[in-house]
């Protein structure tokens, strides 16, 4: 099992589906914490986030043969967590509306005003206040450090929309963070 730690995600997946299904524990070990963190950002509840991640790992195992090893496993499993979280949010209907029509270009660059470290801190502090539509790309970009292409694969939106959404999200976050500080 110790050899598995040196292999790439895609190689571990290949071993799991062809040789030894118990190698899946390596996948769980690698992603459990990251996925828990991401699920927590989305559902804002520790217990529900754990349910989301558990269901996601189970679904991923069942569908493991549909994964194309030429692609990134990370985006694939994050996508499953995303779907599970959205299903759970829809089930409880407590979430704010997705505000799909609120996407628009903005020329204001928040990163010019703050350093990346400051923006990251802002995201951590104010993420819960931000609508889900913006919470997803913000958490993936600043906290999970995913690229635009990876975010595009996880959320299944064009990379241009990822950029627009992140820019807009930064503005929303700035407003919400200021309001939080005033309160």
């Amino acid at each position: 099992m110790s050899d598995l730690s040196k292999l790439s995600d895609e190689e571990v997946v290949e071993i799991t589906r062809t040789k030894n299904k118990e190698a899946y524990s390596e996948v769980v070990r690698r992603y459990q914490e990251k996925l828990m963190r991401y699920a927590r950002y989305l559902v804002k509840d520790e217990a529900r986030a754990a349910d989301v991640v558990q269901d996601a790992f189970i679904k991923a195992f069942i569908k493991l043969n549909s994964f194309d090893t030429k692609r990134q496993f990370s985006s694939w499993i994050y996508r499953i967590v995303h779907n599970e979280a959205i299903n759970l949010i829809n089930k409880y209907k407590k979430e704010q509306p997705l505000l799909e029509d609120f996407d628009f270009e903005s020329n204001v660059n928040v990163e010019e005003e703050y350093t990346k470290k400051e923006v990251k801190k802002m995201v951590k502090d104010c993420l819960e206040e931000i609508p889900l539509l913006y919470r997803e790309p913000l958490s993936l970009y600043f906290l999970e450090e995913k690229s635009y292409v990876e975010i595009s694969d996880i959320l299944r939106i064009p990379t241009g929309t990822v950029g627009t959404r992140i820019n807009r999200a930064k503005l929303v976050m700035r407003k919400k963070c200021q309001l939080k500080k005033i309160k």
Binding site: Y24, E33, A50, I58, I62, L64, N65, S66
Partner: protein, 163 residues
């Protein structure tokens, strides 16, 4: 400490289900069949929509003199099911297209517009090349085409022949 415990619990729960066979991987052929069915679905819906548009064009064609009078008669007996089914086919087809990765990597609005235009163009083209005339005369579709042709008025009874 509790987070660490929860982490171990979660991993154990998942792996015990894997080890005991409570959860099983679906075989590769299952997903291959799924992909083939998806592709067949998109193709069948496109071809169905093309045929129905072609049928609508055929039904809309004014034939002979007194076209305006014929148009009124025709609209009252128009086979609305054909364009409605064509539209349904296109909508379902577009929804199936969403399942492909290119749907979010390219401009999806452009894909949808191209798909609709291609289906419409193919429907009109098939009518233009005389496919309808061929089906009207021969094959299994002959009764349907004859029904569409005579729906504007009562079908004339065959003339009696006197010896």
């Amino acid at each position: 400490m509790s987070t660490k415990k929860n982490k171990i619990k979660l991993a154990e729960k998942i792996m015990s289900q894997v080890k005991t066979g409570q959860i099983e991987m679906k075989p590769k052929w299952y997903f291959t069949v799924g992909s083939v069915l998806l592709l067949s679905g998109v193709m069948a819906l496109s071809m169905g929509a093309i045929f129905l548009i072609n049928l609508t064009v055929f039904a809309l064609r004014g034939r002979g003199p007194m076209v305006s009078w014929k148009l009124q008669m025709m609209l009252s007996n128009f086979p609305w099911w054909a364009p409605l089914l064509a539209i349904t086919g296109i909508v379902v087809g577009v929804n199936l297209l969403k399942k492909y990765d290119f749907s979010y990597k390219k401009d999806f609005k452009l894909i949808v517009v191209s798909f609709i235009l291609a289906v419409l163009a193919a429907g009109f083209m098939i009518d233009k090349v005389g496919f309808n005339d061929h089906l009207r005369k021969k094959g299994r579709m002959k009764p349907l085409y004859q029904h569409l042709e005579h729906r504007d008025g009562p079908v004339k009874p065959p003339q009696r022949r006197f010896p």
